[in-house]
Assembly symmetry: C2
């Protein structure tokens, strides 16, 4: 089985956008936003959006299961206030739950957290619990910068995050570190903010003792780890100069996905990072949707690069495509075993 650990519901029916627009407009005018009960999307609409989108591409590309979460750019934690973020997150998570319930063979859920700038991450615990315990989700997306590009909240090593980490450990769910839309004109959302977020998070891990306090906490850094593997020597050297533990220590807690959209990038990733720390992912349908004129295939058809790279053994590929996902997402195996027809 090939598991894609990084897919967002980017094809949700337009009613979701309309609901969000109402919410954002209400937030701007100080009015009371709509409750998510006002959002009406039918199962047929969901089926159409998935069957013509992610499911179709799964079949074409030969992958079987996507670990699926709300659209990352759409999280927009910086918009409105905590109540708006919560209502929006719950709406998005419930929609993911419906997708996963309609297609239990193909999608397993990961939740958006109702983060809000200046609000303690402790307030995300309840929604995380709901999604894991009631919906059977197996992880969360954690935004290291809910300000949307101003980076004015606490770094990931700050104790403000600890209640959330404690709950993650208790529930045995990892977080993918994933920023959302940038509202800073310096940072293009998918071209700069996403990649910078990845790089920034890993460097925060290098300089902190977070994993001493949470030895079983697990993070996935998406987009191939941002700039980290390309500059692996720099990071090994910085850690050494600062008398921090070698990066191999961090690899007990930190994993990289394969959302790197060309062969040379995947070749570097698989050369530098141990196969035990790489999780297959494509972020399909996501940031880059076109066909690479140099290959004739979609840029984000990352399975092709994994298949083609000379750096991996068959055993390595099995880990990247499937095995590691079971190790990192501690609830995945039971979840799949309990899925009818699997």
């Amino acid at each position: 089985m090939i598991i894609d650990c990084h897919g967002h519901y980017t094809t949700a029916p337009r009613e979701l956008d309309a609901f969000r627009k109402q919410q954002v407009d209400a937030a701007a005018s100080g009015a009371h936003g709509p409750a998510r009960t006002a959002l009406r999307i039918s199962d047929d609409q969901i089926r159409e959006s998935i069957e013509t989108g992610q499911l179709k591409l799964q079949r074409e590309r030969g992958t079987q299961l996507t670990i699926f979460s709300p659209r990352a750019a759409g999280m927009g934690h910086h918009i409105g206030n905590e109540a708006i973020s919560l209502e929006w997150s719950q709406a998005c998570n419930e929609l993911i739950h419906r997708v996963c319930s309609l297609y239990p063979q193909n999608f397993v859920g990961v939740c958006q957290l109702p983060q809000s700038p200046g609000v303690t991450p402790a307030n995300c615990v309840a929604e995380l619990e709901r999604c894991v315990n009631e919906f059977g989700f197996i992880g969360c997306n954690l935004n290291p910068d809910p300000s949307g590009g101003h980076w004015n909240g606490p770094p990931l090593s700050d104790h403000a995050w600890y209640p959330l980490y404690e709950k993650m450990v208790e529930l045995d769910v990892p977080a993918m570190i994933h920023v959302s839309m940038s509202c800073n004109p310096h940072f293009h959302t998918t071209g700069a903010h996403y990649i910078n977020g990845d790089t920034t998070a890993f460097m925060q891990f290098i300089t902190s003792d977070l994993f001493k306090d949470f030895p079983t906490l697990k993070f996935i850094i998406p987009h191939g780890g941002g700039a980290i593997p390309y500059h692996w020597g720099r990071y090994r050297g910085l850690a050494q100069d600062m008398k921090r533990p070698p990066l191999s220590e961090l690899l007990k807690n930190v994993y990289f996905d394969t959302c790197v959209y060309h062969q040379a990038g995947i070749d570097l990733l698989t050369r530098v990072i141990p196969a035990d720390n790489i999780l297959f992912a494509s972020e399909m349908i996501g940031a880059v949707r076109g066909i690479d004129p140099e290959t004739g295939h979609h840029f984000d058809d990352t399975k092709r690069y994994i298949d083609a790279t000379p750096n991996l053994s068959a055993a390595d590929r099995q880990k990247i495509f499937e095995g590691n996902a079971h190790r990192v997402y501690g609830r995945l195996s039971k979840k799949l075993a309990a899925t009818p027809g699997r």
Copy 2:
């Protein structure tokens, strides 16, 4: 001849730091800071700092010329106000001029710009002119975020930068895009802020028409281009999705240095980026000072990686080590021809 296009005076005599401390303390208390005429450093002190530092390593590593500028992290444009930034920049640039005058065979100058948050970059023009016309400098370091990690000024495509770009074009000098120290706790200076700055700048170029307005403007993106080459497929795909010109168009104006501190990284850089767009650099003595236990050599001894990569022909290496520097730094050839003893 092997030209290292990225070296900072990180070994300056301690009097420079003491002067800066006086300046920063004065800025904090609102007092009048010291004038740079108060800074006393002898030629012998400079000689010692260089001969036991950069010059020693040049000789050991077999490089001949360093394009040399003030310490990047030390620029600290966010500290104090414009007057303080100007006095400090002038002091640093004058010190670089003294190094280059003492060792004209080994160092050519690049200046720090007296940027200050909220102040128009046009105000940097005079110091750029002074450094180029009076000191014979051949380029400048341009900080895309003089706030030191808050990213609240204009992006590089903003017309606020245009007077500076006009002067660069007129003088035929390129800029290295280089942030300074981070005062944002999210961003480790050399591990996150530097690399993010590089990635951010390139993405700003992708999304703007800057080089339509300045077809001969030239930028060097240091640290191997941040995350860009590793995600070259992503950037090609994003440009294509946005109906922007192909990245090959940008490569008429944008160059990457080789400050990537391991073999796999240099192999990727030289596989993905045309040899015409790569400039040899080590940032020696800089961000990473230790010896790589995996190789027994300094992490930043980047010449070894260039020598060892299978991706380059002898002609490619000549371009990277020397030829491209002459193309990008338009004043370099004349400068060297006029150097006594060369």
